[in-house]
Symmetry: C2
Amino acid sequence: TDWVGYKVYLDLAGTLGKGQRRHDSDNREELDRARFALDLAAEGKSVAVVSSGDPGIFAMAAAVLEALESAAKPEWEGIEIQVAPGISAMQAVAAAIGAPLGHDFCVLSLSDLLKPWAVIEQRLLAAAEADLAIAIYNPISKQRTWQLGEARTLLLQKRSPETPVILGRNLGRAGQSLKVCTLAEFNPESADMRTLVIIGSSQTRIIERKYGGVWVYTPRRYD
Amino acid sequence: TDWVGYKVYLDLAGTLGKGQRRHDSDNREELDRARFALDLAAEGKSVAVVSSGDPGIFAMAAAVLEALESAAKPEWEGIEIQVAPGISAMQAVAAAIGAPLGHDFCVLSLSDLLKPWAVIEQRLLAAAEADLAIAIYNPISKQRTWQLGEARTLLLQKRSPETPVILGRNLGRAGQSLKVCTLAEFNPESADMRTLVIIGSSQTRIIERKYGGVWVYTPRRYD
């Protein structure tokens, strides 16, 4: 009966059915949005919290459970919740370029709004030392301008300048783009808040395609 | 026109259309299967290589590109390839229990058939030190019996015995099961080759549900 979500995602989700209502929000304040959805559900509504990608990966599922736990209201206790998984941005980008996440990898958010930069730095270094491919969410925004450049500098200390880097933006939507470069060539300013960045491991390979373009993949075998 | 894949997955994929052919294989020899599919495509067939989960995550997409690169035949050069992403086992398990992959995590295969155990050990320790949630693929098999127990021992050196562990088996299929325990309670023998294991980070939380069962989630905030 009720759709709750960031306006852009609700627009993408399609047309309302008869008797359904839309509740648009901006792309911040996830906890408020989650509480609002829980309140509606407690009134007996059937509520869809709409997220892009997979709601379980840097998206609304954790926010709803956080709201449920941290500010629990007695009337929320009987609410039935189902999480529907989806294709996360890293998977759309990986599929479009080949299989860069075909072997061990890690998935990091570069946003230091909810965690200290020191934690992010430690995670990047650990991933680099363990030679994992890395999928980076929230690489950059208008407020967070230096973090992606700093990540590149850190990774270059541990990983070859020839390491493949993939930048995917708005995959599956209007104006999608996909670029491949090396870590040395990678310019952080070419990313924005809608970009998903994948950094290869030492094993990640670029195959030139005979009729133009490239494939990027990480082999299953580690030598 | 042609479906290629492990028999169990082709059975799950549904009924053939008119004029379509099935090419069953066992669940090994991915490279042979990939070469066979490329040969069929080079003959002009429209070939689907069927994988479970997301073909880009520990599945057939990397094998097809590996075949394409490592033993390239001239007749393969013009083949058009598309990778269709899907819901990987870690996402199905995460959605069924809440949002344990709601923040930074890593994704590791515990199989030492194609990489040395020393590499796996280093990756587990790096993930533990960086306090990442960990999704473990290929945790155990009839041939590989001790690796999951060794992983548990390594993780217990770095992570609290109270850390949540989730075991999901055959999610979305007949006979599915889902269990939650702590790292201390976790018995590696309760997993098999169809089990996906998620180990929480220090932040991962278990919420008791009033009417039975639990939610497990990793908050977006890191304190």
